[in-house]
Amino acid sequence: MLSKKKIIDFYISVSKIRKSEEKLIELNPEQEMRCPHHYAIGQEVVAAGVCVNLNDKDQIFSSHRCHGHYIAKGGCLKSFMAELYNKVTGCTEGKGGSMHLIDTKKGMMGSHGVVGTNIPIALGASFYLKYKKKKNLSVVFFGDGGADQGVLYESLNFAALKKLPILFVCENNGFASFSHISSRHAQKDISLRVSNFGLKSFKLDGNNPVLFLNKIEKIISYIKKNNKPVFVEAKVNRFMAHCGQGEDIGPGLRSKNDLNKMRNSDPLVSLQKYLITKKLLNKENIKLIDEKIDFEIQAAVSYAKKSKLPGKKDLFKNVLA
């Protein structure tokens, strides 16, 4: 059973991701954050639902669309904003940018811009956790595009073979940049596709926040208890363009109408409704939470803006360890 605290933490996480992204969109016209942005708006439930069940020693790995995962895992918001502003105080000191976020103290072990590349690296992290007899798990987030890569299948097999504590999370938003899943997958049910690799696989609805949270809590405790891998496909809707400020409306992509439908079933809104209906929070509580988040985000932006840019010496730092 979900605790009240967990549901509220979950809401805070969803809201923080949404509001951070909206802030990025708002600030975009300044053209000061010079790196590609892949927004997670619409998909926040998955990052938040998974990470609210993890502790700092659990490790997560992510892809180009990583803002949400970083924030959900508790990654420092100041370092995040500073990184997006290309500053030396950013989480990679201006080296990695928006697609290579990291906060090792929080168990956010890095995101990668090459699709699928992080999947076996997360596998290695789960290998480490088992090797050192830690009671933790490793999680890798990737998209339906990530499921096109052969390393996924290699990694599923190995995770099952060695009984590693890893959760594979495929956020299926139906697109890989400009390719619809139907032009890439013979068989669109990804959880079914992998169902005979020797590990459990589930299909969850990332648009139904509480149901998702409920199920993912059980899955994560199954992994921790049994030291076994699990695969989860989460169906989600991406509200923004693949990259940047647009909406990716057009032939071969999606219609304005479809997008409106998505926005009308916004999981953030339905989560708020649920909280209120179930009397877990009232409107006032929600407002307070959101204001606190706004405040934190604003502080991070100020920090980022005030921070210094890296200098020539920094270019030659950390080439070899």
Binding site: R34, P36, D148, S177, F178, S179, S183, P310
Partner: protein, 323 residues
């Protein structure tokens, strides 16, 4: 002659190749869709249908094999990558198969595949969205590697690549996409392996590739003000190298600066430098200079990119030392 952008010239090269020969087909991630990255849209589906231009999964390794298997059957695939970086997923297919197929099967098969890829730069593309490593493609026997710098070359080299019987890496540079130049309407090839002498001078040879050309021209202009006249030569392909043009230029000037967008360590710039000094080292009037990014990964921050990519002032400083 009309003017076309670099990007439109590539598109026209592809289009005319497809018109010429129906064994030419094109595939890549998201290329069917009108709003592709950097406006790379091909808009060729209407003309040629989804049989000859199609979208593929993010399965770079097997999709390279797809092209190879088609190419050994005399089709002429053009595989499109939005970043050269992603081709690192495919190098078993490229170097254990494509580049060797003609040789290791005793000439029984040919593998005329074009691997078209972009080198990114700017706006925080960073460590694995900006790499140029055509050196490693040039290192393995059996490959050709072309790097157009102008719209004219972009079209002519694309057509030459498509109709070449070897695997060809066709490497574009994002910063050149909007550059505009004269491009004939007709179907024409630019011969692979012929350098292009853009300016002539007796004092210094500036040789280089791709997006280094604009920098080389700026440098040449600056030097001209000081009465120093340069050969400015676009090498156009890193394999094969146009050895004759290179030697002729350096024999004349005695001074060589090699520009490349790839790293220098074991890079094409090292090869050009080694080749020249091994052939005519005693005729050199000063040490060769390589102008390339330093031996570090591509940083995201624009504040660091400033130091990472070679700039005019630094290049001039280095050149003044050998004058």
């Amino acid at each position: 002659m009309r003017k076309l952008s670099y990007l439109d010239a590539i598109r026209e090269g592809i289009q005319q190749s497809m018109q010429k020969d129906d064994s030419v087909f094109v595939y890549g991630e998201g290329i069917e869709i009108a709003s592709g990255p950097f406006g790379v849209p091909l808009n060729l589906e209407k003309e040629f249908g989804s049989k000859r231009i199609f979208d593929v999964p993010l399965s770079e390794a097997s999709m390279t094999g797809l092209g190879i298997g088609a190419a050994i059957n005399n089709l002429r695939p053009i595989m499109i990558h939005f970043r050269l970086d992603f081709t690192l997923l495919t190098l078993d297919q490229v170097f254990n198969a494509a580049s060797k197929i003609h040789y290791m099967f005793g000439g029984k098969l040919k593998c005329p595949i074009v691997i078209r890829a972009t080198v990114g730069q700017g706006w925080g593309q960073g460590p694995n969205h900006s790499q140029a490593f055509h050196s490693i493609y040039s290192h393995f026997p059996g490959m050709k590697v072309v790097l157009p710098s102008s719209p004219y070359d972009a079209k002519g080299l694309m057509i030459a690549s498509v109709f070449d019987n070897n695997p060809v890496l066709f490497l574009e540079h994002k910063s050149l996409y909007n550059s505009v130049g004269l491009v004939p309407k007709k179907f024409y090839k630019v011969k692979i392996g012929n350098a292009n002498v853009l300016e002539t001078g007796n004092d210094l040879s500036l040789l280089g590739f791709s997006s280094m050309l604009p920098l080389m021209k700026k440098v040449s202009r600056e030097l001209k003000k000081k009465k120093i006249n340069c050969d400015v030569i676009d090498l156009r392909s890193s394999y094969p190298l146009d050895k004759i043009t290179i030697l002729n230029s350096v024999k004349k000037t005695g001074k060589l600066v090699v520009f490349d967008i790839d790293w220098s360590f074991c890079g094409v710039s090292a090869e050009v430098s080694a080749f020249v000094s091994e052939k005519i080292g005693s005729k050199l009037k000063s040490n060769i200079i390589r102008i390339t990014p330093p031996h570090v990964s591509h940083p995201v921050s624009y504040a660091l990119e400033k130091y990472f990519y070679p700039n005019e002032n630094d290049v001039l400083k280095k050149i003044y030392k050998i004058l």
